[in-house]
C-alpha cells in the first residue's frame, strides 16, 4: 500500500504544481533583464519545459527515484542539496519535540489514570486541554516573551551562537551530537539552550494528546480482570501499572502518535519560522516568498513521503505491541 500511495503523492504534487500560472523560466531569470529571448528558450529546453506533460512527469518521477528533485529557480542549485543541508536542523528539532512530548506525557498519563480525579489529574488534564487548543506559533511566541524577552534565560532564534557554530566541526549536522563527539561542552550547552523553547512549542500538542489518550486507555486497562488478578497475586502497584497495564494502554497511544506525526510535520514548518530555525520548513517558507516552485515541490514531496513512512513505522511498532495484529 505504501508504494502506490507514494507514487500517487508524487503525481498529485507534480500535476498540482503545473496549475501555477506563469513560466518558471521567467521567475528564474525574468527580473535580471540581461537575458535574451533566445537564452530563455534554451533554458526552457534544459529544464524540459518544452516537452509534453507526460514526458515531464516521467522525467520527474525517474529523477525522484534517483533522489533528483530538480534545480532551485532562484538559488540555482539542486533542490535535494538545499534540503540535505537543512535536514539535520529539522531532524534535531523534531527529535527534541518528540522527546519533550513523550517525557512529559507518559508520566502524566499514568499518574492521572492511577489517581483519577485527584488534583494532579485535574490540573494536568486542564493543561492538556489548553495544549490541544493553542496554536503552536502562539505558544512559541508566548514562550519567547516569557523566557527570552522578560526573563532573558533562553535565546530567541537560531540553533547555536554564531561564533560557537563556526568553531563546531560539522560531522553529522546535528549540533548536539557533533558537540558531544568533539567534546565541546560550551557548544553542547548552547545548542541545548537553543533547542528547548522550539521543542516545547512543537511538542506541546503531542504531549497534550498523548497524555489524554494514555490516561483514558490506562483507566480502561486498569479495570480489566487481569490487572485485578495481578494485584491479587500480591504484585506491587508500581509493577502492575508499568509492566502489566502500560503495555496494553500504549496500543491506542501509538495509533494516536501516528496520526499526530502529520500535525508535528506541519507544525514544524510554523515553529521553524517562529524561532528562525534554519530547517527544511523555513526553507519552504522562504521559497514560498520567492515563488521558488521547484523547492516548494521538493519540500512538500519530502514532507508527504516522511509522513507515509512514519505511518508505516507506526504500523510496524503496532504489531510489536499487539501480537494479535499482523502486517
Amino acid at each position: 500500500m505504501t508504494i502506490p500511495i507514494m507514487l500517487g503523492v508524487a503525481i498529485l504534487v507534480f500535476t498540482a504544481m503545473r496549475f501555477i500560472p506563469g513560466d518558471p523560466v521567467d521567475v528564474m531569470y525574468g527580473e535580471s533583464g540581461f537575458i535574451t529571448e533566445d537564452q530563455l528558450e534554451r533554458m526552457r529546453k534544459e529544464l524540459n519545459l518544452d516537452k509534453p506533460f507526460h514526458v515531464q512527469l516521467y522525467l520527474f518521477l525517474s529523477g525522484l527515484v534517483r533522489g533528483d528533485l530538480g534545480i532551485s529557480y532562484t538559488r540555482h542549485r539542486p533542490v535535494w542539496d538545499l534540503i540535505k543541508e537543512r535536514l539535520p536542523a529539522t531532524v534535531e528539532l523534531a527529535f527534541g519535540a518528540f522527546i519533550f512530548g513523550i517525557i512529559i506525557a507518559i508520566p502524566i498519563g499514568i499518574v492521572s489514570a492511577v489517581k483519577q480525579y485527584s488534583t494532579i489529574d485535574r490540573t494536568s488534564m486542564a493543561a492538556a486541554f489548553v495544549g490541544i487548543s493553542i496554536p503552536g506559533f502562539i505558544l512559541g511566541l508566548m514562550l519567547i516573551l516569557i523566557f527570552s524577552v522578560t526573563l532573558k534565560l533562553l535565546p530567541t532564534a537560531g540553533r547555536i551562537d554564531p561564533i560557537l557554530g563556526l568553531r563546531l566541526k560539522d560531522i553529522t549536522g546535528l549540533h548536539i551530537l557533533d558537540s558531544i563527539i568533539t567534546r565541546n561542552p560550551r557548544a553542547l550547552l548552547d545548542s541545548i539552550k537553543h533547542l528547548i523553547l522550539p521543542s516545547i512549542a512543537l511538542g506541546a500538542v503531542l504531549a497534550a494528546i498523548v497524555a489524554r489518550v494514555l490516561r483514558s486507555s490506562m483507566i480502561e486497562v486498569l479495570r480489566a480482570d487481569y490487572i485485578t488478578l495481578a494485584r491479587a497475586k500480591g504484585l506491587r502497584g508500581f509493577i502492575v501499572v508499568t509492566k502489566h497495564a502500560l503495555r496494553n494502554a500504549l496500543i491506542p497511544t501509538v495509533t494516536v502518535v501516528g496520526i499526530q506525526i502529520g500535525v508535528l510535520l506541519g507544525g514544524n514548518m510554523i515553529i521553524e519560522c517562529v524561532f528562525a530555525w534554519p530547517g527544511m520548513g523555513r526553507l519552504a517558507v522562504d521559497a514560498i516568498k520567492e515563488s521558488d516552485y521547484s523547492v516548494i515541490q521538493g519540500v512538500v514531496m519530502i514532507y508527504a513521503l516522511t509522513f507515509v513512512m512514519a505511518n508505516l513505522l507506526v504500523d510496524i511498532i503496532y504489531t510489536f505491541l499487539n501480537p494479535k495484529i499482523e502486517l
Binding site: 507514494m6 498529485l12 487548543s133 496554536p135 502562539i138 506541519g266 514548518m269 512538500v300
Partner: protein, 378 residues
C-alpha cells in the same frame, strides 16, 4: 375508495410526522437541559455565543475603524500601561483629526487655525463650543467633532505597528475566524455525508474510487497540503476556504462511511426494506438520523482545528493579508516587535484564538458526552 385510502394514508403520514416532530422537540429540550447541566460544555457554549455576537455586531460595538492607520499611534500600549508620552501622542492625534474635520466643515483663517493647534484638547473643545454659540458651527457637527476627539483618545488595548486599534481588530477578527470555521466545516460535512452515505450504502467501484482518493489525500500532513493549495491558488478568503475544505471532507467521509457500513447490517434496515422503502429513503430517513450526532460532534471538534489552521496560514503570510483584520495576520504583524518587549500586539489576538478554540473544544467534548450514547455505559 382509492381516494379514501389515499387521504387516510396521508393523514396517517401527517400523524406520524406530528409524533416525530414531537419526539424531536422533546429530544431537543432534553438535549438542551443536558447541555445546561454539563458545566464545561455550557461554559463553552456561552463563550462561543459571546464571540458570535461580537462578530455580528462588530460595526456597532467597535469604537473605531479597524483598518484605519494612525502612524502617530504606532505601538501604543494598552490603557493601563500608557504613560505621559503616550497620552500626549493620543491627544495630538485626536486634535489633528478634529481639526482636519473642522477645516472640511467651515472656513477658518490661518491665524485662528494655528491658535487652535496650540491649545490642549480640553481648551479646543471649549473654543469649538464658542464657535457653535456664534452660529458658525452646526450643533450636530459640534457633537460629531466632540465624539471624534473622544473616540481617537481611547485605545483600550493599544495599537499595532501601523497604528491600527487592537481592540477593534480583535473584535473584527472574530468574523474571519468564525466564518472560516463554519464554512469549512459546513461544506466538508456536507460533502462527506453525501459521499460517505452513498459509498457506505452501495459500496462497489464508487466507494473504492473515493476511498483510494482519500488515502492519497491523507498521505499529506494537513497544513502542508493547505500550503500547497494556497501557493498554487494564491491568497485570499475564498481560496483559503477551498484549500482547507479540499482535505477536511475526508474525515467526515470516513466517519459516515464507517457508520453506514455498521448500520446497514442492523435489523431495522431489513424491516424498512421489507416494508418497501426505497434505498434513497432508507439512507436519508432511516440511517442518517441515527448517525448524524457523530457528524455534529466531529464537526464541532474540527471547527477549532480549522480556526487554528486559518490562523497558521495567515501567520505564514498565505491566508488573509493585512490590513484586513484576521487574528493570524495580526500575530504575524506583531511578531517582529516582541524582541523589544512589545507584547500586546501578539498577545491579544493570540488570546482571542486560544479562548475561542478552547471554548469550541469544550463544547465539542461536551456534545460528545451528551450525544454519544456508547460512552454513557459507565
Amino acid at each position: 375508495m382509492i381516494e379514501l385510502a389515499k387521504t387516510s394514508s396521508t393523514s396517517a403520514i401527517i400523524d406520524l410526522y406530528r409524533v416525530k416532530s414531537k419526539i424531536l422537540i422533546s429530544n431537543l429540550s432534553s438535549f438542551l437541559r443536558e447541555l445546561a447541566a454539563h458545566r464545561s460544555a455550557f461554559l463553552g457554549a456561552i463563550v462561543i455565543m459571546i464571540f458570535v455576537l461580537a462578530a455580528i455586531f462588530a460595526p456597532q460595538i467597535t469604537p473605531i475603524d479597524p483598518t484605519k492607520m494612525r502612524l502617530q499611534l504606532s505601538l501604543l500600549p494598552p490603557f493601563w500601561a500608557q504613560d505621559e508620552g503616550d497620552l500626549a501622542r493620543l491627544e495630538k492625534q485626536a486634535k489633528r483629526e478634529v481639526l482636519k474635520e473642522l477645516i472640511e466643515l467651515i472656513e477658518i483663517d490661518k491665524d485662528y487655525l494655528s491658535r487652535l493647534r496650540g491649545l490642549s484638547m480640553q481648551e479646543m473643545l471649549v473654543e469649538l463650543g464658542r464657535l457653535s454659540e456664534q452660529g458658525r458651527l452646526d450643533r450636530k457637527d459640534l457633537l460629531m467633532l466632540e465624539n471624534l476627539g473622544k473616540k481617537v483618545m481611547v485605545h483600550p488595548l493599544g495599537c499595532d505597528r501601523m497604528g491600527m486599534d487592537l481592540l477593534s481588530r480583535v473584535i473584527y477578527g472574530t468574523r474571519i475566524s468564525l466564518l472560516v470555521g463554519i464554512l469549512v466545516v459546513g461544506i466538508s460535512a456536507f460533502i462527506g455525508v453525501v459521499l460517505g452515505s452513498f459509498a457506505g450504502y452501495y459500496r462497489g467501484w464508487f466507494d473504492n474510487l473515493i476511498s483510494r482518493f482519500c488515502d492519497l489525500l491523507l498521505a499529506f500532513p494537513y497544513l502542508i497540503f493547505a500550503i500547497l493549495i494556497m501557493v498554487i491558488m494564491g491568497g485570499g478568503f475564498m481560496n483559503m476556504i477551498f484549500a482547507l475544505t479540499f482535505k477536511a471532507w475526508v474525515e467526515f467521509f470516513r466517519l459516515v462511511r464507517g457508520e453506514f457500513l455498521s448500520e446497514k447490517t442492523k435489523e431495522y434496515i431489513d424491516a424498512a426494506r421489507v416494508a418497501g422503502q426505497s434505498s434513497f429513503k432508507i439512507i436519508v430517513f432511516e440511517i442518517l438520523p441515527n448517525i448524524i450526532h457523530s457528524v455534529i460532534v466531529l464537526g464541532t471538534l474540527r471547527m477549532g482545528y480549522m480556526i487554528i489552521m486559518e490562523a497558521s496560514l495567515s501567520y505564514l503570510g498565505l491566508g488573509i493579508a493585512p490590513p484586513t483584520p484576521a487574528w493570524g495576520s495580526m500575530v504575524y504583524l506583531g511578531k517582529q516587535d516582541i524582541i523589544t518587549g512589545i507584547w500586546w500586539t501578539v498577545t491579544f489576538p493570540g488570546l482571542a484564538i486560544l479562548i475561542l478554540v478552547l471554548s469550541i473544544n469544550l463544547l465539542g467534548e461536551g456534545l460528545h458526552d451528551i450525544l454519544d450514547p456508547r460512552l454513557r455505559v459507565d
